[in-house]
Symmetry: C2
């Protein structure tokens, strides 16, 4: 069982072959960042077409048992998720409609404040708004996982408080290990763990320690430090691995339609553009090797199984029902 709770970029058959070769059981691609209802439905349609055209390699998954079947059948499960909630266009009713269409993960906010709450990059994190509280409850009812990876710490704590089900931070690291706005405070990680949630350690250079980018052992050590904070039942992997993201794609991620100014996302004026992939993860095929690294730093076989996918599967089962 190998689950990566967040990847992005432009997926194609080459990516599916790499994921298949790498032994992935399930991966959550990013179907959108800023898109409204129609464009978000277009993205589902695109993934349905890709599923039909690559049915020897991938399968869109809707519940935990589908993922177990993928493990048995040697297919890569695709869990449909978005890094924003613009697809709702302010309608509480659309939560269950998108669940019906197969959406299973929604990040409450991307890089900017929206109707639901505050982002990690806002000067002031509003916390979870009135609509945000409604949506978090409705997502629990409809079986969609709340993701707070780019969401501000305050809004994340509110989401944990208001969600009747455990939530996730699918792709971030502890800010106490690598200080960055995109990483989450120990307070958040404690609250997340206490309510049964999971954080996915990210392998994206802008938010990941240099050692954890350099070697598998370094990344395993990052995981170990995260486990010290959140506990071994509450840590998984969410690489934030990106396929073929060119300048246009990165501009869309960072600027959407909301600004004319330069935006760096998790980067900075010193690292404005694409950053190198981690040395140990030049392509997605290598992620499975992390199991060995985790054993090296002292995790038992059972613990390795939890981190490599078991914890996500448990959370998915709890949330998707």
């Amino acid at each position: 069982m190998l689950i990566d709770a967040l990847q992005c970029g432009e997926f194609d058959r080459e990516a599916f072959e790499a994921l298949h070769k790498g032994g992935y059981t399930c991966v959550t691609p990013t179907l959108g960042f800023w898109e409204g209802t129609l464009e978000s439905m277009d993205a589902i349609g695109h993934w349905r077409d890709m599923e039909r055209e690559n049915s020897d390699l991938i399968r869109i998954v809707y519940k935990a048992d589908d993922i177990r079947e993928c493990e048995k059948d040697g297919k890569v499960g695709i869990l449909l998720g978005y890094q924003n909630t613009n697809l709702l266009e302010d309608r509480i009713r659309f939560v269950e409609l998108f669940a019906d269409m197969g959406v299973r993960v929604l990040q409450l906010t991307y890089n900017n404040q929206n109707e639901l709450g505050g982002s990690c990059y806002e000067e002031e994190d509003s916390g979870l708004s009135r609509f945000g509280r409604e949506v978090v409850r409705e997502m629990a009812r409809a079986g969609i996982l709340v993701d707070c990876s780019h969401t501000g710490d305050r809004t994340t704590l509110h989401a944990i408080e208001h969600s009747p089900k455990p939530i996730a931070v699918t792709h971030a690291n502890p800010a106490s290990v690598f200080p960055h706005k995109r990483n989450r405070s120990d307070d958040v990680l404690h609250a997340l763990a206490e309510t049964g949630g999971v954080i996915g350690c990210a392998a994206y250079r802008n938010i990941t320690p240099a050692d954890a980018c350099a070697t598998i052992r370094g990344f395993a050590e990052l995981v170990a430090r995260t486990v010290e904070i959140a506990g071994v039942d509450h840590v998984g992997i969410g690489t934030d691995y990106s396929y073929k993201g060119d300048d246009k794609f990165r501009d869309w991620m960072r600027k959407g339609r909301w600004t004319r100014s330069v935006q760096y996302g998790a980067g900075s004026p010193k690292a404005p553009g694409a950053v190198a992939k981690p040395e140990w993860l030049p392509g997605p095929e290598r992620l499975g090797d992390l199991a060995g690294g985790l054993k090296e730093v002292g995790f038992s076989d059972e613990e390795v199984g939890k981190i490599m996918g078991g914890n996500w599967l448990r959370l998915y089962e709890t949330v998707f029902g």
Copy 2:
């Protein structure tokens, strides 16, 4: 088993109580006439809310077995349908997404030509367009019933030819019995029947003989004449019964956003507005009495069962899978 394949107007608890009292097993309300994707999703959301608020009376049904359960449980099954295909906004991919959201019936065109084909009111019926052929095939694959009640005869014949599954004319009468653009030719009814389709006899004064509006026996005779054309396995009921349709609602049905001029729909300058309900069907509660009328005009118990709902159920089972 009592199935009405088409009603319209503004449904509320009062309507559901009347349907429940009348012993309806299943009814197809009209969720939209001209609405695009977003507004059509709003309508599904509205019906989900009405289902939750009136769960003692109604239940949205998705397959034939749901309707059988409604019969057993004394609930009114609600089959979600639209009288147009504007909700697709030109996207073949949206057919299966609306199927996922529970849509089970789509009329190819309403009163005007659209991207799919020609309407019964157009001077020239284009026949089924290139996109129309794609959609008809995709609807069969996704399990949505093709309805051609307002569609032109030529387009209807093409739909019958191109659909891999039988189709429906949910609410119209034979034009050979009551000449009107909204009623269908014998050629259409023969082709419909040969491919396993069903026509629902309508009880809407503008398109229904005066005798069939006056008494149950008169309506039973209309059904008998329709059976003479299409055969007893291919005739059901689709009253076109309308709830609380005020001038504003009727204007929306007839004019949408496409014209500033006066439009009469199935009416005429002589009958421009609301027409009286049939004398025997002042409210929906009375429809069940038609079974007696059908026996009076010579139908056997088995045949009455087919006409009152069995034929629709068979068609639904074939199309929804």
